[in-house]
Subunit: 333 residues, 2 copies
């Protein structure tokens, strides 16, 4: 395993697209910590090229099949693709649900495709940090497209979708109202709506409902009018049209200047996320917080002797104070 | 609207259980900011009493109906109840999906019950902060039980469930594999498993599968063996048994000393959450970060001229420096 000193040659192997290096790099990123950070430091300059597509939708909408079909279409057009299937619903077991299982058979053995599941947990926002670094790594490895796929419910997913340049929200005809309702929350993040399994009964109604909803909400995103694309991913129907729409959105972003705005938004949420993780680390670091102080204060909050707000402020000031400053303070005492 | 000076009398009204005060207080909490914080400061001492139950599960599992039935059972036993239906799936539209709509008819007009939906967004972790403060407020208002209900997918939901003393995970027979798979991630957080709609075909199989899964995983949580309870919430079947199991878990927590451990864990995640929100606020506060600096640094990250990690560290140190310290530094220059 390379030491931090060797990290530049390791990063170089990733940039040359070595599958083993990419794979190990993603494991580092998943685990987090200093190695992950050092790797990101070595790679960030080279992460500009990939176009990032987010795919989300209610459970059962066939996202994995859709992504597989999209990957095949991209390969037909000679683009290389990295896929990151992020699964935030598994906090403890560590196993990813979103499957490379089925599609591995379809597209394995193709050097132009790299697929990986991710289900990192740990500190708050850890998964989003890992997904962002993972997208960067795949981008640095020379992929033309990077697809990030999540189950579309919850803040984590929305945060992860914010990494994408174009976001697809996948619906499907005939899912229960309760499941469809979940879409309501993520409908606003869609740049393109995909109605998958469009050969099913009720597909036209779903498409019409979606279009009506879009018309009602006047869901024009900074000048972009999100289209509704019908697909049958299982039979590769509508997939070429979908990729055309993605390309149309990409050109729109570039020509309208929205792309730069979006890149700034992505950068902002990443930086905030990293800063917050840093704070969480500092709180458990004895050089910032004397050993046992955190536990003692938490105990007082649990007993309702100290308000959580007061406690958080005290600990924040402490975690924030630099080591040098702390030494100065103690030598003054 | 009371000024911060009047906040203690407002807090007193909440503690006396005034429905209007509770309702307005929850709106403050949902909006966040200084008022919410001041209110929490006034109330935290009085938030010890309520027993907090978390209810989560895949979409379509009938959580709302179950909660309604549970509330009715609690009322039969003369307990008062507050319900917080938290909906993290709606980041932009602000509308809560989880419905007080249907059940309002069932249990409205009863002073011993207070039901409220919450869908706050904004800064990272804002919803969890609001849910925690909301639970505290309902507890301070004298409710015997507080129920927090979420759609069970994603980190936010798991974080919110961590506020609960007893967590119920609701399953249902015959939902698709894809939907059921979502349960896998939250199965570990269950203190009690509820199979709802247990009059449906396949209920016995679902119960057996769940029990097998539990046996396989040896899912004993610190000495507690999570039971599986079958219910038909719609017909109030199994609800009394469910509340008995909740009470059994409560007694277990108390007698085993696990309750104190759990209260500490809840306090810890709250404090961390508040501290992280504080950091996010400081980063956009000109007195900590000179106006425009954040935007300038973010721009450099977006252009790949600066690594997100380096940028986050710089901004963190800056946000962390207290005003007094900043003045000292500038006067030294």
């Amino acid at each position: 395993m390379p030491l931090p000193a060797d990290i530049h040659s390791f990063a170089l192997a990733i940039r040359f697209g070595s599958i083993r290096a990419v794979s190990r790099g993603l494991s580092w990123i998943e685990a987090g910590g200093e190695r992950a950070e050092a790797l990101s430091e070595s790679l960030y300059r080279y992460t500009k090229n990939a176009y990032v597509i987010g795919v989300t939708g209610a459970p059962g909408s066939g996202k994995s099949t859709l992504v597989t079909a999209l990957v095949k279409e991209m390969r037909t057009r000679s683009f290389t693709v990295g896929v990151l299937a992020v699964d935030p619903s598994s906090p403890f077991s560590g196993g990813a649900i979103l499957g490379d299982r089925i599609r591995m058979n379809d597209i394995s053995g193709d050097d132009g495709v790299f697929i990986r599941s991710m289900a990192t947990r740990g500190v708050l926002g850890g998964l989003c940090r890992a997904a962002a670094d993972g997208v960067d790594l795949l981008s640095a490895s020379g992929k033309d497209y990077v697809i990030v796929e999540t189950v579309g419910v919850g803040q984590d997913e929305v945060d992860i979708m914010r990494l994408a340049h174009t976001t697809l929200v996948v619906s499907v005809p005939g899912l229960g109202d309760d499941v469809q309702a979940l879409k309501a929350g993520i409908i606003e993040i869609a740049d393109i709506h995909v109605v998958n399994k469009a050969d099913r009964e009720g597909a036209n109604r779903t498409i019409a409902e979606l279009q009506a909803l879009l018309a009602m909400k006047m869901a024009v995103k900074n000048g972009w009018n999100p289209p509704v694309v019908a697909c049958v991913a299982m039979h590769n129907t509508g997939i070429s049209e979908l990729l055309d729409e993605i390309e149309r959105h990409r050109i729109f972003l570039k020509n309208s200047g929205e792309m730069n705005k979006q890149l700034r938004m992505i950068a902002e949420s990443r930086v905030l996320n990293i800063a917050q993780n840093l704070l969480a680390q500092r709180l458990v670091d004895p050089s910032h917080c004397p050993d046992g102080l955190l536990a003692k204060q938490i105990e007082r909050v649990a007993r309702r002797e100290l308000s959580p707000y007061r406690c958080a402020k005290d600990l924040f000031e402490r975690a924030a104070t630099s080591n040098a400053e702390q030494e100065r303070l103690s030598s003054n005492v």
